[in-house]
Symmetry: C2
Subunit: 205 residues, 2 copies
DNA sequence: ATGGTAAGCAAGTAGGTACTTGCATACACG
DNA sequence: CGTGTATGCAAGTACCTACTTGCTTACCAT
């Protein structure tokens, strides 16, 4: 029964690197150090194997949650953004391939969307709480929905595209904090400049 | 010579739908209504054909530019964001596949990155101009670089992921305007609420 | 009329793909 | 000891892949 896990792990690696079509059963079996026949005996077919990979990946990277009652928005958002970034980065290759193959393998769509949905719900609920507590501005010129979409887009973009054009993004250890600050600005929340930005500015003088 | 263009167009469609591995020469030729041999006589190989497709796509969708001297930031940004959204949307399937296949076909990387780079340069230059003219806030708590990254991420995310989860995004005809407003808020520029948001708010009462 | 050029058609090459079958081996449990 | 279970190995099936070759049309310009 140890074969099953070795195959799953190898299939995850190979699929992430080559996509569904490029992930040949021969290559997966060889990467797993297992006979190709064992792969078919264990999972039945290539599609079934890759479906198992997606389910396992989904279970291995649980969502992070924002607190229901905000206390320190800057800190809580920074932590949440950081964890979201790491989560998406961990599944980035699988995610990108799933998006590309969505027309041919619609079952991959759920994998590509569910995390996004949950994160979106999480952040909008948090902002609603911020508004009810009077922390966030509820004026007409503050567009909460658009701000939430922009934060999510930022997280996705950073986690996926940083690998291709790293120089366009803030340093890894500052990114979450600075995104959080910008997000709060969009909501009309006054914040202090985060430490990393203050450092950069004072050095620039 | 008419075959060349028909093959290029068909190859673009098939590649966008199935990716490099899935875009078989047989399928491309059949979609183009052309004999498979003609495809090889015209382009030499499958890789050469797909390279020609990427070059043609790149030329067919030129960058949009922001004015060097801002006059109406809200309007100029809205227009630019709208055009960027449309541009990325037009090449979305190619872009997604190029990102997925970047490890196997590094020549696709340039296609995936160049547009992003140019847009980033464009928006940062524009914001610098805004600051020099005193329109945008230059305080320490305004993080121009992070704001630019967030705007670009928003555009990429909207153009790519809206197709999968359309209900999470603002309506198509409002998106650019609302992103522009949020972006200006991040920069500390006071704006009126855009028309579409005001309408939504007044109807909600 | 003649020659060049673009194109179609049929067939073939060499290799890869998912997946199957039959048989041999090892190990664990009663 | 015997028996089931997991695995390996060799071979084979049926099909798809990029790409080639040889031959035949059709048209266009000189």
């Amino acid at each position: 029964m140890i074969s099953r896990e070795r195959i799953l792990e190898a299939a995850g690696r190979v699929y992430a690197k080559h996509g569904f079509r490029g992930a040949t059963t021969r290559l997966i079996a060889s990467e797993a150090g297992v006979n190709e026949v064992t792969l078919f005996r264990t999972f039945g077919s290539k599609s079934a194997l890759l479906e198992a990979v997606l389910m396992q990946q989904h279970a291995a990277h649980p969502e992070s949650e924002l607190p229901l009652e905000p206390i320190d928005p800057q800190l809580e958002l920074t932590t949440w953004i950081q964890m979201s970034l790491e989560r998406v980065r961990a599944i980035r290759p699988l995610l990108v391939h799933s998006m590309g193959e969505i027309e041919e393998r619609p079952e991959a769509a759920e994998f590509a969307c569910r995390g996004r949905r949950m994160a979106h719900d999480s952040i909008t609920a948090y902002v609603r709480a911020l508004q009810e507590m009077g922390i966030a501005n509820a004026d007409a010129d503050v567009d909460v929905d658009a701000a939430a979409v922009m934060l999510m887009g930022t997280v996705m973009s950073d986690a996926i595209a940083r690998a291709f054009v790293p120089d366009l993004y803030p340093p890894l250890d500052e990114a979450a904090e600075r995104y959080a600050t910008c997000f709060l600005h969009m909501l009309g929340v006054k914040t202090f400049a985060p430490q990393s930005v203050r450092n950069a500015r004072s050095q620039a003088q």
